[in-house]
């Protein structure tokens, strides 16, 4: 088995007296799509934000490729290998879609920016709106723009927090295809979702989080269909301390 692109070891995060994550350990291999599921407040967003280098953990280690992130000593290398979609678009309303993408391409110090921007815009279906101000785009189109931003630098690891938010069915299908293409290219994908039907259809593995702990790590073969997964999900969450 090839070395994992993303390795998480005993990750802890505390907000005041409350533990958001406790001893979270897992790996994501190249070409693997992992769904992160769990009830509200389970720690999904906190986990993804730590992996995305936005939040500092209290303990534990994260490796992206061979990069040791937790000490922040090589965070730049990790950041270059990560594509992160969060709850916010991270876009500037007063810039056009093209200007936003060009800005991020410059931050990633990418070459051939114009071609890359055209390519990712076409990939997410916003090439005809590239010169529109971002504030004039609908929530769904802004989400597509956000996904285009993530694809710009072709990251080895995709971290997607509720990526289906605001997307219509066609756009959600497109996102599924983007994830499958990334999988074929050997990238590692970790995404959180409450849309279990859609998320389970595309993932290879599902990690269940509750109260900051991994309560189940289930490979695709472990459930027969959505109803079967829901049965396991309900059982695990009810039984997990």
């Amino acid at each position: 088995m090839s070395a994992p692109l993303l390795a998480v070891e005993k990750l802890d995060k505390q907000f005041g007296a409350r533990w958001a994550l406790r001893g979270v350990t897992f790996q994501v291999a190249p070409g693997e799509i992992v769904a992160l599921v769990g009830p509200n407040g389970a720690g999904k967003t906190t986990l993804l934000r730590i992996l995305g280098t936005l939040t500092r953990p209290n303990g534990g280690r994260v490796f992206v490729r061979d990069t040791h992130r937790a000490t922040l000593d090589r965070a730049d290398a990790a950041r270059a290998a990560i594509g992160f979609v969060g709850h916010q678009t991270f876009m500037y309303d007063d810039l056009t879609a093209r200007e936003n993408l060009n800005f991020y391409a410059r931050l990633y110090d990418l070459t051939e920016r114009a071609q890359r921007i055209r390519a990712v815009a076409a990939r997410v279906g916003i090439e005809h709106r590239l010169d529109d101000l971002t504030r004039t785009l609908s929530r769904g189109l802004q989400q597509r723009l956000t996904i285009a931003r993530v694809l710009l630098h072709q990251p080895a690891v995709l971290l997607l927090d509720e990526p289906y938010t605001g997307l219509d069915k066609a756009a959600a299908d497109m996102l599924d295809q983007i994830m499958l293409d990334a999988k074929s290219a050997g990238r590692a994908i970790l995404f959180s979702t409450h849309d279990l039907a859609r998320g389970l259809a595309v993932c290879d593995r599902a990690i269940m989080l509750k109260a900051g702990r991994i309560v189940h790590d289930l490979p695709r073969a472990g459930w027969r269909d959505l109803a079967g997964f829901m049965e396991i999900y309900a059982h695990v969450l009810a039984g997990a301390k």
Binding site: R49, G52, T53, L54, T55, R56, D76, A77, R79, A80, I82, F84, G86, H87, Q88, T89, F90, M91, Y92, D93, D94, L95, E99, F103, Y104, R106, L107, Y108, D109, L133, R149
Partner: protein, 237 residues
């Protein structure tokens, strides 16, 4: 070691550092040129301050070359605070600062880019304010050395203001926090800037204000270095 002290985490890639810095400056300028929200508010506010002071002093027959430096810097700093306050508030509100922090960009480049943008916005406001000051008070401004003195004062003010704007933006009372944090810290710098500006208005020889000039340079360097180093810890959660 030398260069590494100034660019602590750029890993010997100053060109990349500079490219990223100017990407941030260009982004800020492009957004501002499109809306002109920040600049127009700053300029209008500064002009209002000048007009109010003009009426106040005209009634008392004050020599404007004596008090003019204070008037100008009240207008510059209060108006500058408006712009600095929006500098990171807008980035925090829309989460775009996180987008920047996600990318492999040196936090020093982010600071420098924002500081340069803020410096430019304040300088533009000053460029509109100084001629009006001259017209209202019927004085011929000694553009040299007045403009270099004003820009030197603005440099340190923008550097420290950028850092403190980032701190204030992460608090609930950011509109109040920025002036509370920035004005006390900036007092030595503003004193030097006012004295130098006054010296220029009164056509005093450089030797008479050299001490203030040295103090201003010292604070410019101090503010820039401290803000550059501390910024990373301010913006990272």
């Amino acid at each position: 070691m030398g260069f590494g002290i100034w660019l602590p985490s750029s890993k010997g890639i100053p060109l990349k550092f500079l490219r990223q810095t100017f990407a941030i400056v260009q982004k800020d300028l492009a957004a501002e040129l499109r809306t002109k929200e920040n600049l127009s508010a700053m300029v209008v506010f500064a002009l209002i301050v000048l007009v109010i002071f003009n009426f106040a002093f005209e009634l008392q027959g004050v020599d404007i070359t004596v008090v003019g430096a204070g008037v100008l810097w009240v207008a510059f700093t209060f108006s500058g605070i408006l712009g600095l306050g929006r500098s990171f508030a807008a980035e925090r509100d829309k989460g775009s600062l996180e987008g920047v922090l996600l990318s492999p960009v040196d936090r020093g480049a982010v600071f420098l880019g924002k500081a340069i943008s803020n410096f430019i916005f304040i300088a533009v406001m000053q460029a509109a304010t100084l001629p009006l000051f001259a017209i209202l008070n019927n004085v011929a401004l000694p553009w040299f050395p007045l403009v270099p003195y004003v820009l030197l004062g603005t440099f340190g003010f923008a550097a420290m203001g950028t850092l403190l704007s980032a701190i204030a933006a992460s608090t609930k009372m950011r509109e109040v926090m920025l002036p509370i944090l920035l004005f006390p810290v900036s007092i030595p710098l503003l004193m030097a800037a006012v004295k130098l500006t006054g010296g220029a208005l009164q056509a005093r020889a450089f030797a008479e204000v050299a001490l203030w000039f040295n103090l201003l340079i010292l604070y410019d360097v101090l503010f820039l270095v401290v803000a550059f180093w501390v910024f990373e810890y301010v913006v990272e959660e």
